[in-house]
Amino acid sequence: MISIRAIILMSISTAVPLLFASLGGLISEKSGVTNIGIEGMIIFGAFCGMVGSYYTGSAVVGVILAMIGGGLLALIHAFIAITCGGAQAVSATGITLFSAGFTSYGLRLMFDRAGNSDTVANLPTTEIFRNIPVIGNYLANYSPLVYLSFIVAFGVWYLFKYTPLGTRIHTVGENPKVAETLGIDVWRLRYICVVVSGVLAGLGGAYLSLGQMNLFQENMSAGRGYLALAAVILGRWKPGGVIISCFFFSVFDALQLQLQVVDFYGLSPTILAAIPYVVCLLVLAFSFGKSKGPASNGKPYMKKNN
């Protein structure tokens, strides 16, 4: 029997890093700066989280450091993409390569070994939910970052649906020239969005090293950044769509594992593992309409007033 409960429980926790990362990616892309460097920002966040927790013994400090780390990395991307008007795909590729190498190197410097760090203090579970009947135990077992990711998801949805800022970000991503003529500081807004995207990706990393685990493992982002990017596109650059897409990937991943449990038609686990990706391709192939991103996404905007 396939356990629906298992699918739900698992898909929630695996969606979390994707949520953080893809919502970050969404914000950045909405403002007109593509960010295929999310993968690098996740791993960097995971590493910084571990470092913070290791040296202070406080997971909360770790999480904050992860956000700072992701944000700083994003700042580099922002500088190159916005101020220098550099090619964004190139910069992002550099970011990803750099952080993969840097975190591995840092790990070796810190612990004189490869692979994984020592265990560090991680975030406690959310005990306040423990006493809720029936589902209390399940809820309580999740890391607070799980709930934070839901809050962020809601926040991003709200941002774009209801706030002036959201509309301005949309404007900057659609046509920065328009924004500038309205007195909106294009560069500043883009900087903010890119850095926020790094901060969120860093949080996604912190979830990996301090929420889900209590250590840093080399390459522990394991392609989640690319999946997050895919979720942004699959979700058609709409907050709701992006959130659904994250769950789409996590649910289908949980489902393929459950299919292994029931030995689905004796299919090889290797084949089952491809299910989420095949389904994603099918969705893209059979969905109606075209999926267009923000009109000025990826195009550098050279400020006129200088």
Partner: protein, 505 residues
């Protein structure tokens, strides 16, 4: 009292002096026109006044005070508003959202769209400029968008309004309306600066005129004291004659174009509703009409990029339905698209590449699949010379050319092999009089040469002076048709608005 003054403004782009020591003082409560050729530096100067560009030297004075504009925000705060030559609107947002953008209603945490709609409605009421605040920009006409732009400025409480070529995309009736609005604004004490290439408009609307040439101020004159030809002389240093060169008698015997009952709908909307048009060799046939009445869609159909139409389009005796665009071009057709930058050129390609775009695969430009650069360059040099295209070199990207010169590249290319039939869509949009003169002469010469030309234009004057026959398009239908002998501005104007009364051809 001056509303706004440019004091010795210089703006250099690298070595290019787009503005060179320009001093213009604009009196409060007047309409001040700025004229000049393409690339004379008009937009640049306006952008300086609006805080988009920082001047290389000189200063801006607003209401008597020297100001430093760090961004449009500063200008807006000082009561300056600008409607840009290319509309500054976000297509997938609503009218109301566009208008309040940057000064949103509600709180930072809540964008009160209802309030925005209400405010916009009030604003519309106040200035008698009607728009639907809930419509998306992409769904409204260009004229409407123009109005939204003006409302945007008014919403910000401007008292100095800069309009950069506001009439380039408007239909005559819309232009009349715009001018009424301008007069109304001035009567409420506002100051308007307007840029336009159409000298009759300048003379009609403005109080004073400043003329720029090659980045320098030639002079500022009272409108009452100049004539159109004097103005032209100031602008380009000579007189021009629009309407094309001498028209020869042509045979007009072969039918090069026939549209039979062409219908097109998209998303359930009927865009073309049975259009019938013919063009014969040796004539220029115009399509007049207010923007948004199906002209763009008709162009898409007959130029081959829209295939899902009903009816028949025959070009040079061939039904184009099953033809690719390439086959259509091989069938002796030239096409000058509406939007030269987006549709006509590959801006990042060098001029020589652009001059052979679409013919690059044919001999002599290509030999057994390889490009023949020698021939391409030879061809390019010749055309650059023949068409007087001003380029630094034929290897320079097309993006570095002025609008008029970009248009010449397209003209040269599309007519290089003397096609029997040419579609010319808005060929003079945004061009200065000098360039327009060139295009007009060119079109008439082609006609004299026995080519058939279908000219789509919003400029009624242009159509009247160039065409042998004019069809009027309204709501996707041909509302009427006139021959040169019978041309009557009034009737055509009525047909454009859908009022019956035109003679049917």
């Amino acid at each position: 009292m001056y509303a706004i003054e440019s004091i010795g403004i210089c703006k250099y782009f690298g070595n290019l002096k787009a503005n060179d020591d320009i001093t213009i003082q604009i009196e409060s409560g007047t309409v001040h026109a700025i004229c000049g050729e393409n690339g004379a530096g008009k937009s640049t100067l306006m952008n300086v006044l609006y805080g988009l560009y920082r001047p290389t030297a000189g200063s801006v004075r607003i209401k008597g005070k020297d100001v430093i504009l760090n961004s449009p925000k500063d200008a807006i705060n000082l009561g300056v508003g600008m409607v840009h030559q290319h509309f500054m609107l976000i297509n997938n947002l609503t009218v109301a959202e566009n208008i309040v953008l940057g000064q949103e209603t509600g709180t930072p945490l809540y964008f009160d769209r209802k309030q925005a709609i209400k405010n916009v409605e009030e604003l519309c009421e106040q200035y008698n400029l009607m728009v639907d605040p809930t419509a998306k920009i992409e769904d409204i006409t260009v004229g409407m968008q123009q109005r939204v732009e003006i409302l945007k400025a008014l919403y910000r409480g401007v008292d100095i309004l800069i309009l950069d070529e506001p009439t380039a995309v408007l239909a005559p009736s819309e232009i009349t309306e715009l001018f009424e609005n301008i007069k109304m604004l001035v009567s409420t004490g506002k100051t308007v600066i307007i840029i336009t290439h159409k000298l009759d408009e300048v003379l009609e609307i403005s109080d004073k005129i400043s003329v720029l040439r090659l980045g320098k101020l030639i002079g500022t004159v009272d409108t009452k004291s100049v004539t159109e030809s004097e103005l032209t002389k100031m602008m380009i240093g000579r007189e021009v004659l629009l309407g094309g060169s001498e028209r020869l008698d042509t045979k007009k015997e072969t039918e090069v174009f026939l549209a039979k009952d062409v219908k097109l709908s998209r998303d359930g909307r009927k865009l073309l509703n049975g259009v019938n048009i013919t063009v014969k060799s040796g004539e220029i046939v115009g399509i007049a009409g207010v923007d948004g009445n199906g002209q763009s869609e008709f162009i898409e159909v007959i130029s081959g990029s829209e295939k899902k139409y009903d009816g028949e389009v025959i070009i040079n005796n061939k039904n184009i339905k099953s033809m690719s665009i390439r086959e259509m071009k091989e069938n002796s057709m030239g096409f000058i698209p509406e939007d030269r930058q987006q549709e006509g050129l590959v801006l990042d390609f060098p001029v020589n590449y652009n001059l052979v775009l679409g013919k690059h695969y044919l001999p002599p430009f290509a030999k057994s699949h390889f490009l023949n650069f020698e021939e391409i360059n030879k061809f390019s040099e010749k055309n650059v010379k023949d068409f007087d295209i001003r380029v630094p070199s034929i290897d320079a990207p097309a993006s570095t050319l002025s609008g008029g010169n970009q248009q010449k590249v397209i003209l040269a290319r599309e007519t290089a092999d003397d096609p029997k039939f040419v579609i010319a869509a808005q060929p003079t949009r945004g061009l200065d009089v000098g360039a327009i003169e060139y295009v007009h002469n060119f079109l008439v010469e082609s006609r004299n040469n026995n080519q058939g030309i279908l000219l789509i234009s919003f400029e009624l004057d242009e159509l009247l002076s160039l065409c042998d026959r004019i069809y009027v398009m309204h709501k996707g239908e041909i509302a009427g048709h006139q021959n040169k002998e019978d041309f009557d501005l009034d009737t055509i104007g009525k047909m454009m608005l859908g009022l019956k009364g035109g003679l049917d051809g």
